[in-house]
Amino acid sequence: MSDELPPLGPELEGLFDAAKSDVPTAAAKAKARAMLGLPTPAVIPPSTPTPAVSTPATVSSGLGMTAVKGVLVLGLLGGAYVVGMRVGDSRAREELAALPPKTVVVEKIVQVPVPAEPAVVPPPVAEVVDAGAPALVKPVKKPEADQPDDLMAELVFVDGARKALASKDATAALASLAAYDAKFPRGTMRTDAQLLKLEALLLAGKRSDAEALGKKVTTTTDSELVRERVKRLLHAK
């Protein structure tokens, strides 16, 4: 990073080298893939927008809501893109550009017959294993419901507010964000929620409240980008 830095020394370099070879277990990676509704690389070609196809099968198979939500969010918001990025981010972006519009894909989903053996339905967590991975995975008892569920729940409120704002419904947006505040006082999407609230307050004509919130956000955030965003929002309206 800089020539003027004090050297790490061979001992510390050795420790960092050891850490560089640290990787998650195949089971953990497979679990994450399943949670996100992504297929295993060996099953699905990179450019196939398959996560969307799997949605109805997932729903009908009665798997846990976490997996279902994950598939829905990714399917609607770019899951196919994420899958495609396996072969290289730039190439994946090109593949995304070549895909049909997202809404068309979604319409297709509903009409696609569910295959008897759906290839990419997120299976119960531990059954997903990389091809060639060591046999680390044992039979599943039940899918885990943990932190990503919280994030999904947060996204419901934040997305609700965003949609309400898009349709110029400040009251609904503020209601959704108030519910978010109450439920997730230290949520991961907190900053996003605050910025949306600021926008909603401006839309509702509550400029002084918006400015107060803007001041609060700018004094508590470490992010220059967030401060810029607040500034832009307050100056735009």
Binding site: M1, P7, V23, P24, D89, K141, L155
Partner: protein
């Protein structure tokens, strides 16, 4: 993106202080957020974005009580036939985690992103939303602190 960067995200989360199972949860969160922000991620800045998100996600997860790991998800015990170098590496990683745990969070994060994941000064600055000069000075302090920690540890070993 998942296949290319999952290991990186998990590794960053582990080295900034999350235990195994929590790092897995955190990595999932990072990719969920990434999937939603895809249009905001500049081409070529995917790593910086993911690292920034990982650091952000790690914050609240640090204060989360340690989750009991079901037996079937627990890390495989080290086999008695595991090659010695694997065991050695595991010990080295544990030692590094111990050392990193003695640094301030800001210094630790910069050190992990640069020394471990090879992010450039500019990438670290972008990931943490700090000026490049701040990133450089944090790295310098981090290296100095880490050297002191190592010296103290060696002293204790005598």
């Amino acid at each position: 993106m998942f296949e290319a960067h999952y290991d990186l995200v998990w590794r960053v989360l582990r080295r900034v202080g999350l235990p195994d199972a929590t790092a897995e949860d955190g990595a999932q969160q990072v990719f969920i957020i990434a999937s939603r922000r895809m249009s905001d991620i500049e081409v070529g800045k995917e790593r910086a974005f993911l690292c920034a998100t990982a650091v952000k996600v790690a914050g609240p997860l640090r204060s989360r009580p340690r989750r009991d790991v079901p037996v079937e998800d627990a890390p495989e015990p080290v086999d008695e036939h595991t090659p010695a170098d694997l065991v050695h590496r595991k010990q080295q990683r544990a030692l590094l985690d111990r050392f990193l745990g003695m640094l301030d969070e800001d210094l630790r994060t910069v050190l992990v992103l640069t020394e471990l994941e090879g992010l450039s000064k500019r990438e670290v600055a972008e990931a943490l939303d700090i000026p490049e000069g701040t990133a450089a000075s944090r790295l310098r302090r981090a290296r100095e602190e880490l050297a002191k920690v190592l010296a103290r540890w060696k002293e204790g070993q005598r």
